[in-house]
């Protein structure tokens, strides 16, 4: 069974259909990238996969649970299995790096009655910061971090919840090539170390081809291509060809 299944997903706002009969199957442990032009609906799709936006119709099965139509409280049970890395990190700017990372863990442990000790939290934060290659940053405030560092702390915060699924919103946008490469490596390493299923929304084609097991191409709210990076290179789909030609001139055929 697929880890994530999207069936006939439709999302409409007054006067406009943003997503039109989306169908996707994502296997456990895969890294699937969703690419497309600005306004193609990829961020809307990501928000629906994470339950942050309600679909008009269709279904989204996360680990076998259809999240479309669930109440916020029911969604929270699913969200405990997922992590979301935001485009601009969305770190809590009133909290330092340490408190950002432990935030979700302490909130849920407190509500379940089992408060983790300070030593446990210290160790967890230390390990996560090492994993995202930012050791010793515990006391820094988000405003003291670069964009790339914020994204890595955002990833550490997501991983603190030990998710089975990690969703990335434009993880390399606005970053220099070296930092973008570091983020790409982290996405792959995160999958390999934690066996998580990853969905990456991006229009950075170099990054997409580097990290993805499969690629979904969105155009005007529809999936016009879904296959491996190699299949994408050989695809006859016009939008895929144009996208590749514009972003990776050497790869065009």
């Amino acid at each position: 069974m697929s880890a994530i299944q999207v069936k006939d997903l439709i999302y409409e706002v007054p006067g406009k259909r943003i997503l039109d009969h989306i169908n996707l199957e994502i296997n456990a442990g895969e890294i699937v990238s969703i690419m497309g032009q600005s306004g193609s609906g990829k961020t809307s799709l990501l928000k629906m996969l994470t339950g942050l936006r309600a679909a008009t119709s269709g279904s989204i099965l996360i680990d076998g649970v259809d999240i479309v139509g669930l109440s916020e409280r029911e969604l929270d049970k699913v969200r405990l299995k997922t992590g979301l890395v935001f485009q601009y990190a969305a770190l809590f700017d009133s909290l330092n790096v340490y408190d950002n990372i432990v935030f979700g863990v302490t909130r849920h442990k407190v509500s379940s009655g089992a408060r983790p000790g300070r030593a446990q939290l210290d160790q967890m934060v230390s390990e996560l910061l090492a994993e995202v290659e930012l050791p010793g940053m515990e006391e820094r405030m988000p405003s003291q971090l670069s964009g790339g560092q914020q994204k890595r702390i955002g990833l550490a915060r997501a991983l603190a919840m030990k998710p089975e699924f990690v969703f990335y919103d434009e993880p390399t946008s606005g970053l220099d090539p070296i930092t973008a490469r570091t983020i790409d490596d982290l996405i792959i390493t995160t999958r390999d170390r934690n066996q998580v299923t990853s969905v990456v929304v991006s229009h950075d084609l170099a990054s997409i081809f580097r990290i993805s097991d499969r690629i979904a191409m969105l155009d005007q709210g529809r999936v016009v291509f879904y296959g491996t990076p190699e299949e994408a290179r050989l695809s006859k789909v016009d939008m895929v060809q144009r996208f590749i030609a514009s972003e990776l001139p050497g790869a065009a055929h």
């Binding site: 916020e72 992590g83 849920h108 919840m161």
Partner: protein, 289 residues
């Protein structure tokens, strides 16, 4: 519970849980588009409905003990510290100026023995909670709206939800409860500052402190203080709730945060005065002076 869905914030805050924020709280798209009267009326009614839902859900969250004591104390501390200076300045100067006019008239027409009591009665029942409320709305209400609005536009509220942390429980309930707790304390400080300020100017205009305080003791009762505190509790609740709602309704980046902050202050002040009229009538109708 079903909420009317609209675009924009509807997506971000969609929910049918009794512990969530109303879906339509955030969307003000209709208010700027020159729509007709009925649509505007519908928007107002919807806003009132959203406020009622948010108030109810906040109340349920508070009663179920869903607030972290640490969050609550942090908010109480912030609200108290933020507003204290403004309250001191506003109420002391108002009391002083009020007494300046009252004492002059009193000395001229021979009713100096009523100055202290009259001013104290006014402060306990009206000026203490109202001026304290306006100060709280201007300082802490604006800060709450700006903080939450900023969190909305930088996706920090979405980050909370993505981590299965209820924005209502983490953001709204502690702030509303903190405002509700701190407002009566600010009202008491308002009363004290107003009386001290007015006593000094009364003295400068010939009303001695002994006459002043004797007048306060004679003319005022515990019920006057109690009435003021009832008002203060209601004002605190309204300020906290309205500021959170305006913050959550923020759209459109820094400009949106500015608009939400302004809306918050305006809405809080208007609500204070409307509630004041209603509560005053209710309190005087049930045994007040």
């Amino acid at each position: 519970m079903t909420f009317t869905m609209r675009s924009g914030y509807t997506d971000a805050m969609q929910s049918e849980s009794p512990h969530d924020i109303p879906a339509a709280v955030k969307d003000h798209s209709t208010s700027d588009s020159g729509v007709g009267f009925f649509e505007a009326l519908s928007g107002i009614l919807e806003a009132v409905g959203d406020s009622a839902i948010l108030a109810w859900n906040t109340l349920i969250t508070v009663l179920q003990g869903g607030i972290s004591p640490r969050d609550l104390l942090a908010q109480m501390s912030a609200i108290g510290a933020d507003s204290m200076f403004v309250v001191l300045i506003v109420t002391t100067s108002t009391g002083a100026v009020f007494a300046l006019y009252a004492a002059r008239q009193a000395m001229q027409f021979g009713f100096a023995q009523f100055v202290g009591g009259g001013i104290a009665y006014t402060f306990f029942n009206e000026l203490g909670p109202v001026l304290g409320g306006v100060a709280l709305a201007a300082r802490s209400g604006a800060a709450i709206a700006a903080e939450i609005g900023s969190m909305v536009v930088t996706e920090q509220v979405d980050a909370l939800r993505a981590m299965a942390v209820s924005p209502l429980r983490y953001l709204v309930a502690p702030r509303v409860l903190a405002a509700l707790i701190m407002m009566p304390l600010l009202a008491i400080i308002s009363d004290v500052c107003g009386l001290i300020g007015s006593m000094f100017t009364s003295r400068m205009n010939g009303v001695t402190p002994s006459v002043y305080w004797e007048s306060v003791r004679t003319m005022c009762h515990v019920s006057d203080v109690r009435n003021g505190l009832v008002k203060a509790c209601v004002f605190g609740f309204l300020i906290g709730l309205s500021a959170c709602m305006q913050g959550l309704s923020t759209e459109g980046g820094a400009t949106g945060v500015g608009k939400a902050t302004t809306r918050s202050v305006v809405m809080c002040v208007v609500l204070i005065f409307i509630a004041d009229v209603i509560i005053a009538r209710l309190l005087t109708g049930v045994g007040g002076h």
